[in-house]
């Protein structure tokens, strides 16, 4: 397949995944911001949301004050933000349009239909109802795209590049969400907090849609180290770093099998995965969660560069 096609597919998947992640981050922040201060504590939820979406710096360039409306506009619609939901889906659609031949009809209809529908929200005031309608449309469009890829695509290199994009983006997103809130996840005893923290922790889980999953896995009240365990090391949890790397290595293996050749991308992915498999959450906390996540984000970017170098140029 053409390198340009593979590149477009890889980024198409990344942008759709990014739009979906950002929608979930906004959703969680909106909910936490609406929780009374006596429950949630004083914090600027919108600033955290911007940071988790990797958009805080860009936002500050344009406006010094973080407001709800400003943040929602920047994350959802702003043309100044290449990662706003609108920009993401716009770019994803451009890629899809350029690579129509590599997509199934269902996938194109999902991305094109979703994009056309979202344009209805342009310039509309985002009160609570409209925001939640908008966010569920975004999530539906992304799910529909992902689902149609899963159900209709041939399992060949096109599919593998698409999945690599999904998991590389998702790993990055989960790591960032955790990193923004890492101070809340310090081990018990190091923090005064009590009841206030529950809502903050729940918000982290909500941002990755795994509050219910937590209960099924641990059968416990929310504990910060268990939250970190779930999102970093638990391979059953589809948004965890461990699960993302399980998938990344397996799709890179499929590619090397199809092409009959291994390369740096396979080796980088395998070494990151091995590190995740051998780690325990208590060790991670000992060396520092923030340090661990910073290193992970850099490693993940290195894998992205290796994939680009090996296949996409």
């Amino acid at each position: 397949m053409l390198s340009r096609t593979a590149d477009a597919l890889f980024w198409l998947a990344r942008y759709v995944e990014r739009a979906d992640n950002t929608a979930r981050i906004i959703d969680a922040a909106n909910r936490l911001a609406a929780t009374p201060i006596s429950y949630a504590g004083e914090s600027n939820e919108w600033e955290s949301a911007l940071a988790a979406a990797g958009a805080l710096e860009g936002f500050k360039l344009n406006q010094p004050e973080t407001s709800r409306d400003g943040a929602i506009d920047f994350l959802g619609f702003s043309a100044n933000n290449a990662s706003s939901i609108k920009s993401c889906l716009g770019t994803a659609r451009q890629n899809a349009r350029a690579e129509r031949t590599a997509l199934t009809g269902e996938m194109w209809e999902a991305i094109n239909g979703g994009w056309l529908e979202l344009r209805r929200f342009d310039g509309v005031k985002m009160d609570g109802d409209t925001l939640s309608a908008f966010l569920s449309r975004v999530k539906e469009a992304c799910l529909r795209f992902d689902g149609s890829a899963y159900r209709t695509m041939l399992r060949n290199d096109a599919y593998f590049f698409l999945r690599l994009g999904v998991y590389l983006e998702r790993a990055d997103s989960t790591a960032r969400i955790l990193d923004v809130k890492y101070h809340l996840l310090l081990p018990e005893g190091e923090r005064v907090g009590g009841g206030l923290d529950y809502f903050q922790w729940a918000s982290i889980l909500r941002a990755v849609s795994s509050l219910t999953a937590y209960r099924w896995v641990y059968h416990e009240s929310l504990k910060p180290w268990l939250i970190a365990d779930l999102l970093v090391l638990n391979e059953q949890m589809p948004r965890s770093l461990a699960s993302c790397y399980e998938n990344l290595t397996s799709f890179l293996d499929e590619l090397s099998l199809a092409y009959g050749r291994q390369g740096p991308a396979q080796r980088v992915a395998r070494s990151i995965r091995t590190r995740l498999q051998n780690a325990t959450i208590s060790e991670i906390f000992q060396t520092g969660l923030h340090e661990f996540l910073t290193e992970f984000i850099a490693d993940n970017a290195r894998l992205g560069a290796a994939i680009a170098d090996q296949y996409l140029t």
Binding site: M1, T5, R100, T101, E109, N112, G113, L116, D157, L312
Partner: protein
Amino acid sequence: MPAAFNEMYLPDGRCRPGYEFLKRWLETTPAELFAQRRAEAELLFRRIGITFAVYGAADAEERIIPFDIIPRVLTKSEWQRLSTGLVQRVKALNAFLADVYGAAEIVAAGKIPADLVYRNPYFRPEMVGLRLPHDIYVQIAGIDVIRVDDNDFYVLEDNARTPSGVSYMLEDREVMMRLFPDLFAVNRIAPVENYPEELLATLKSVAPYSAPDDPTVALLTPGPYNSAYYEHSFLADKLGIELVEGRDLLVRDNVVYMRTTEGPKRVDVLYRRLDDDFLDPLTFRPDSQLGVPGLMHAYRSGNITLANAVGTGVADDKAVYSYMPDIVRFYLGEEPILKNVPTWRCREPDALKYVLEHLGELVVKEVAGSGGYGMLIGPASDQATRDIFAAKLRAAPENFIAQPTLALSTSPTFVNAGIAPRHVDLRPFVLSGADKVRIVPGGLTRVALKDGSLVVNSSQGGGTKDTWVLDT
């Protein structure tokens, strides 16, 4: 201007053969159903993403071409006559090109002025003396024909460079079959869905003689910002070939490769939808970002087939057009089956004089223009526009030809006021391969949706219709 030929009704109000069922259908189907189906059709086109870009229209990044749900009908015998004429015409086009880039016998015989060929902006000196596989230059032709009476089809223009529109022919049929399955169950309508199959067979048949038995074909597009990009990706998909841009290709030792995830892969045939000027910055426009450096060397070395060949524009020039009847006679020794519209070549002083005196009655076209741009429709123009045009004509008469305002035939069409006759033309697609000439029955019918308008180009408010060739 004579009254337009109505394809559905005879002057006495009776229905022409072939149109009876359509008449019944239009009379018995409730108006609401038609309205509903039209809305569905629009939605289908949007969903599938069949859009095109209009140059110079900033407000509309992407539009869909209006689709009319009333089909245009040709009987089997009408089609047989037309298709025989098309085969003849395209054979003559290919013979003409092989000649002007070869022995130039037609010029020597004095059948066509030398300067019209050699000083033509589309004449490519790079092609002189190059023998192409099977001597085929125009593998894909789109011949625009119009109907003026019961018997005659006129060729309006020959598109021998990169004719477009075939995706609409295919999608119009798909949409009709989804919307009105019953119509297809009762009527025997010749299918068009095998076009991609025929196109692929044609392209493979003209691969370089040295290419492997199963040559690699790719479609070269200028990219997503081109107005016909939808069609490029549609065709690549249907043909099962890679859709490449210039940057995906590289030339090494005069061989063309595409960059793939598994390394460079050799390409044997390029169905290129990129104009000559942009193909190779080393040979043509040096500022072209869309082309492939070295492509022309690979082409001249016989390592790749370009479809259509470079330099075919010299055959579809509107001034050369006027010589087509002679070209047919010269190479084939036959009388042309399809007529030519009478044409005044403004390069000739007598013709120029006549044209200037009759501007209000004529259609004046730029020799190298396309898409309905840069033309004057005399009867629809005002004095000021005509004065401006007259000045242009006097300044560079060789750039213009003029033709009488033809009464394009009409076909029943849905408009706001109901069903009304609207002017139509037809672009059949003619495929010339090493083994034979292939034409799927029908083609793209374009319809001028504005009352009285004769301009069917999509960029000027035209629409399309499904074209039915009856098989009974």
